[in-house]
């Protein structure tokens, strides 16, 4: 509850500080200070200190799972701001508004992490999506950015329409928006209405997390959006949608698992396949990362498929590991002059520290042990393995992970083993140290995941 109120207030505050503060540095510092405050208040809430008490009539519940995820999301956003806030200056003149929109998105994330009612879910998704449409198109003079924004807006509103229709059908069947009440039925055969509603919701959510075959918007939007915002969209926002996804299906449709499990399996396999195979053929690192985010979404879908304790723990770990690593890579990518693979040639000679940290992030995304990415993938596979006889899915996922090594390692190969003479880039000391911190976190998660996951219980 702390985070919900404060993030909305901070969004408003940022909009006004855009008028009052003329210096960009001051704006940035206000935003980062606000982010720190938000994170601290959220951690306080985990410790039991709640500043605002509002009766939500049970439509929201701030349980451990929700709070831990929002903490992960806020911490990632803080790191993201520390790394990339400076680069937002280059996007356009509305510097303060970008921060305001990000805070509004965080408000939406709080909603989607803790909803108990389909209305709140819908509200959260809209609060996340609308600022995203704006951020995607924020590079106003760039045709690609405009195109991406329009595409995202049209397809996004279409899928939101599907979601609403699904919610309406479910309401028609059960007469309630409360997710917990949707499952409580004893009839042997669920009505067609509720199954149809569930499918619509499933498709709409698949769109939001860019699972195949609803992924077509992703590469274009991620590629067209200003790279700073792609970083935010592809990590924290995507993670938030996933949390909403698993929460919804766990609460509302858990008992219907037999109805949707096969469908989810198909979506998972398709996502893994399309994401990984297409990523192999990309020439631009940015586009490769867009497809890689689809591929990683495929892995996260496994948690939905398995739907047990391991899956939920693993998803939290996955969102943390994936967000940290991807934010780090994007932060480096933004600094590059050339987004193609060749642009990274000889990078290790020029910037040894940046290259080393990027390597750690890439290893994490590829799922090499000792990084958070490995344990995250491991949790997913383990969850599927103990959920029953689904060895085939594990094998498919493993082979796709092996393919992913190819495109992640292409960047490593370019950085370390190839000679290149791209013009030198300049980075500040603070940027370097933040990257090192990020890399350290990725490794720490890979060795002691319990540091994160214990928060779920204690």
């Amino acid at each position: 509850m702390n985070a919900l109120i404060v993030s909305a207030l901070l969004g408003v505050l940022m909009m006004f500080s855009g008028i009052l503060l003329k210096q960009k540095k001051a704006l940035r510092n206000v935003a980062i200070a606000g982010m720190v405050l938000l994170l601290m208040l959220n951690v306080l809430e985990m410790a039991g200190i709640v500043l605002f008490k509002i009766d939500t009539k049970g439509m929201m519940v701030f349980d451990r799972f929700a709070l831990l995820f929002t903490t992960i999301a806020f911490a990632s956003t803080l790191l993201y701001l520390l790394l990339s806030a400076r680069d937002m200056e280059k996007v356009g003149i509305n510097y303060a508004e970008y921060f305001a929109l990000i805070f509004f998105i965080l408000c939406g994330i709080t909603l989607t992490a803790s909803f108990k009612s389909l209305l709140i879910l819908f509200l959260g998704i809209e609060i996340i999506s609308i600022p995203l449409y704006i951020l995607t198109g924020s590079d106003k003079k760039n045709l690609k950015s405009n195109e991406a924004s329009l595409k995202y807006f049209l397809l996004g509103s279409f899928s939101t329409g599907l979601l609403l229709m699904g919610i309406a059908l479910i309401y028609g069947a059960r007469g309630t928006f409360y997710t917990n009440d949707i499952t409580v039925f004893t009839e042997a055969k669920p009505s067609a209405l509720i199954v149809a509603g569930m499918l619509l919701v499933l498709f709409s959510m698949s769109f939001k997390v860019s699972a195949a075959p609803f992924h077509f918007w992703t590469p274009d939007v991620y590629d067209g959006a200003p790279t700073v915002f792609t970083s935010f969209m592809a990590t924290i926002v995507k993670a938030a949608f996933f949390i909403a996804f698993i929460r919804l299906f766990d609460d509302a449709f858990g008992l219907l698992q037999s109805k949707w499990q096969l469908l989810v399996a198909i979506i998972t396999v398709a996502t893994l396949f399309i994401g990984n195979i297409t990523a192999v053929f990309q020439q631009s690192v940015k586009r490769m990362l867009a497809y890689s985010s689809i591929a990683q979404a495929g892995f996260m879908m496994l948690s939905l498929f398995a739907m047990n304790t391991d899956a939920k723990e693993g998803l939290l770990l996955y969102t943390a590991a994936y967000s940290l690593a991807t934010i780090g890579i994007f932060a480096v990518l933004i600094k590059m002059n050339d987004y193609s693979f060749d642009g990274f040639n000889g990078f290790a000679r020029q910037q040894p520290l940046l290259a080393a940290t990027t390597t750690i992030f890439l290893l994490s995304l590829a799922g090499i042990p000792l990084t958070g990415g490995f344990l995250a993938k491991f949790y997913m596979l383990k969850a599927v393995m103990i959920s029953g006889d689904h060895l085939w899915l594990v094998i498919v996922a493993i082979f796709m992970a092996a393919i992913s090594v190819y495109y992640y390692f292409r960047v490593i190969q370019a950085m370390y083993f190839k000679e290149g003479d791209s013009p030198p880039i300049e980075v500040s000391r603070g940027f370097k140290w933040t990257l090192v911190l990020l890399a350290a976190l990725v490794i720490l998660l890979g060795i002691f995941p319990s540091l994160l996951l214990n928060w779920l219980y204690f």
């Binding site: 042990p369 596979l381 383990k382 393995m385 594990v394 094998i395 390692f409 370390y416």
Partner: protein, 492 residues
Amino acid sequence: MVPLLLILIPLLTGLTAFFIKNEKAVRSWVLLSSGLTLSISLLGLTVLKEDKFLQFQCEWLQTLGSSFSVRLDGMGQLLCLLNAVAYPLILLATWNSSYKKSHNFFALMLLAQAGMMGVFLAMDALLFYFFWELALIPMYFLCSIWGGEKRIAVTFKFFIYTFVGSLLMLIGILFIYSHSPSHSFDIASFYEIHISSKQQQLVFWLFFIAFAIKMPIFPFHTWQPDTYEQAPTATTMVLSGVMVKMGVFGLIRWLLPVVPVASYQWGDVITTMAIIGMIYASLIAIQQDDLKRLVAYSSIAHIGLMCAAIFAENQSGMQGVMIQMFNHGINIIGLWIVVEIIERQFGTRKISELGGLAQKAPAMALLFVIVALANLALPLTNAFPGEFLMFNGLFNSLVTKYSVWFTAFAGISIILAAVYTLNMIRKVFYGNMNELTATVRDVRSNEKLALGIIVILIFCIGVYPQALLNVTKEFSEAIVKKADILPLFRGH
């Protein structure tokens, strides 16, 4: 405490080495570190023999059912010793080779050593997998940065091969874990697993492919000659001397006792594959003109015999494999040292371009001939007891009907080994000198020292193998007993 130190010393010194920019300083630092590791390993073997020194366990990933559990048992002792002996030898022998950014080179070498130590010591499947991959990553960078002309593509092939293998193993580990009674990754619970024969076969192949790629066993060997050829020689020594033992080791510790029924069912197929590989690799070795590739193929042949002997599933074969793992490690490092000297002097590895080295470099010739003869398993050299035990095991195996045939065909490869080894010696060291080889200079003192140590080890173990055999005796007995499936039949 000992196992923990064996992992931590190379790990920490390796990480420090990244920051020592002076080449001479980093070399001395690495030598110091590897000397320390060697002495710890020897201490563990001789003085600190009580259990409390030889194992270490602490909580780690508790919710996953995994713990940081390391122990030095017989096979662990032997392979850690090999790992610890190999590094000082390699450093000594390549003291004069210089590398660009040498601090990174040596740091990665030490990290690889730490990874391999971990593989040999881990008593927890997840930990084992961790180290298995960790040993691979430094190797990938070592070969790709400091390797030969085609290094990037070749190393990537090597990496993808082994990575796919280890991922398959990961599925196997997860499968056993999900069927283990106590839901734990501990090796003890892996040994107690009860799964049907069909499930055992699945697990068997998931694990076997990973190990077969690492060893390598025909037909999974295609990465190996290219990688050995392209990698910097010091790295090749680590790869062929120590790292391939990870595969053999994996078969013995994680495959045979965990899925004995499937090992019995597929034993004949595997042995056949191994023996085809032995003969095939030997035939190719005869045709090779490149010294590095010749040694690489000879290594495939030797490893094939070890694989066949493991699936003989008896004490003699198992003990032979144990001692041979150690011997093969030091012998092949000896071969590489000479190849490295030749390549550095003449800039070529082609046998056809060399000749008559013995005339001006008698010491090199003498030392090399001894190592090469050891590679042939001549009596009095270290490989003889190992190969004898393995052949004995293969011949007397109770788990196969074709033991005579297996032994006969495996024996052919010994003859072929003599053909290519002696041929190489003749062409490179004897005969007429040409313009290129007239400039030869004999081995330097550091190289002489490294080769001398190897030769001493060759003779010591050749004359008195019992010292090493005693180390692994109990362990081999335990493994053979666990792999024995006859009690299962008697029970029904």
